[in-house]
Symmetry: C2
Subunit: 342 residues, 2 copies
DNA sequence: TTGTAAGCGTTATCAA
DNA sequence: TTGATAACGCTTACAA
């Protein structure tokens, strides 16, 4: 049967002092045993401490360690949202990499609100992480860019590291994939397939990396490209397509959206308007998110090697300046953009 | 005043002491101004402190606050993975709710490894969060259940709160949706549509909530249900369908998978085998994940009101025992399960 | 090798 | 209202 729990009164957590007292040693000795110290401790003591810790169910108070050591084995990641397949994949890869180095990743979410990014960084600084990683967003003309830079500089000055992913708008180390080149080669391949008229869906919010994709595509495309800038979302892309004038819709040959997310929104819009894909309209995206495995027809896109990006990022977050790095992004032609028959 | 502190980059982060000194007040006064204290401070002091803080770019050291206050405004969330649309949606909702109460959510990932759950909880306890929320998993016969319970009990004893989401395998407060009833009513509606032979894809790993879905479906289904237990994943469901004997495949009328993720895997498998959906085989899932908006034909499923779940969870994580709660889950019939024509 | 004592940045207590 | 001063749990010189 169950033993009667005598007291439900909230006790305080077991501390290192408790363990030391129980083991009959000093607090520092207990500390040396339990948390990797270079110092060696006599075996007899060591076992007594370990046993006491086990019996009491001791867990080191991370906050106390952080404050005593002046650093916490944490990488703070700022992303715009967790539900987004692209960002969640990125977060997963980063956590995987970080774990190799015994690092924790804490995630903060901007919800795509520009001002929150600054607030977040400010707050994160209070967590004294080893590094702050900013993924996503990256405005063409950052509204509060100066303040953000100042905040990040301050963080660097106190020994922290700053790494940006896929954004080159701030003067810090950046790991990126080649947005421009990826879109350019995609456009080239699509041109080879026979496409000559494209609608490019860019980002309504002026994001640098997204503009690079637009520019890259236009540069690599052999035909005529019309550019639109709907809201930067699935819904935005869908709404844009839905509101297209009939004649423009009918003349549509290929839609390139700067993200798979928007490409899928565009497809939804095209279907709403009764257009068949890819028979009547071809569609291509960018990112190669996991969701695509369930989409029919299979979506042509540009694959981004997130694992490599994550690896490079974590390395820079820890080891110090390795310099910026750009990993290549390659187009993947699938069923949504078949060769054009004329 | 004494030294030129304005242009010299401090190697250590700016502390409350720095701010106090600069403002010419005591540390406690600065603390009272900068961090919501009930105490009031003379306006002249208040402005001086605020100004000094701004000039120096002060950010409170969260670890120090946590240790001094004995509590950190944090909810620790344990989920099996971040890339999974269901869990990432859950995490998003929880963060949204938590923010209302000025709470931070820290995310830890088990990667579906049973043992990691225990390790994680142990480590999280070291973060001294206000609450630990365990979402997902929940084994029918927990391998190290006793240890996990002991660890969580310890956490509760020291004033922490434990909330489980959609798992009833541990003796703690639980917020759940009605897996059994949701699956049962879905099965009933499908029966009404004329379906009489179903293949049910359960979970290879024995998860309690998943078994409830299987049981609920079987109970509510008017015809004959065959149950299989492939690996609990998209790939598992797909592989199972792919390896089905020809005759069994041909006799397939309806596939119900316990999660949308597996349902989508099943669809992939069915397509690999050349079966058309829904003309030849109907498919239904559970969860109503966002991904479904891009899937054709639209997938019949059971909608889970994650926002409600999140709200109830956060409330319990903070306010104390409100008792367990079950929110209803309703079937949504879509194009993947049309009425049967005979 | 072990223990004493001094921090780490913040909050809480309690005089003044 | 304000400011010494003592915690909070842990690490790290420095002394024994």
């Amino acid at each position: 049967m169950t033993e009667a729990a005598n007291d439900t009164a909230p006790r305080r957590p077991v501390t290192l002092t408790d363990v030391a007292r129980r083991a009959g040693v000093s607090q520092p000795t207990a500390s040396r045993v339990l948390n990797g110290s270079a110092r060696t401790v006599a075996d007899s003591y060591r076992t007594r401490v370990l046993e006491a810790a086990r019996e009491l169910g001791y867990t080191p108070n991370l906050a106390a360690q952080a404050i005593a050591r002046g650093t916490s084995r944490t990488i703070a990641l700022v992303i715009s949202g967790i539900s987004d397949p692209y960002f969640s994949a990125m977060a997963t890869e980063l956590m995987k990499q970080a774990e190799k180095y015994g690092m924790r990743v804490s995630i903060a979410v901007t919800e795509r609100r520009v001002d929150r990014e600054l607030d977040l960084v400010r707050e994160l600084r209070g967590q004294q992480p080893q590094a702050i990683v900013l993924a996503g967003t990256g405005y063409v003309d950052p509204p509060n860019g100066d303040e953000l830079v100042a905040e990040l500089r301050r963080f660097e000055e106190t020994g922290g590291r700053v790494v940006l992913i896929s954004r080159t708008d701030l003067p810090f180390e950046t790991v990126t994939f080649d947005n421009h080149e990826g879109a350019r080669t995609l456009a080239a391949e699509l041109s080879t397939l026979g496409y000559r008229r494209a609608l490019v869906l860019g980002s309504g919010t002026p994001l640098l990396s997204m503009q690079q994709r637009v520019d890259g595509f236009v540069e690599g495309f052999a035909g005529e490209a019309t550019i639109a800038y709907p809201d930067f979302s699935w819904e935005g892309a869908r709404a844009h397509i839905r509101s297209l004038p009939d004649e423009e819709l009918r003349s549509l040959e290929l839609v390139f959206a700067i993200t798979d997310d928007m490409a899928l929104g565009a497809i939804a819009g095209l279907r709403d308007r009764g257009r068949r894909i890819p028979e009547e309209v071809a569609v291509a995206g960018f990112d190669d998110i996991t969701t695509l495995r369930d989409v029919v027809p299979a979506l042509t896109t540009v694959h981004v090697p997130l694992d490599q990006v994550a690896e490079e990022t974590v390395r820079r977050a820890l080891d110090g300046d390795a310099g910026g790095r750009t990993v290549p992004a390659h187009p993947v032609i699938r069923a949504s953009t078949p060769p054009v028959r004329r």
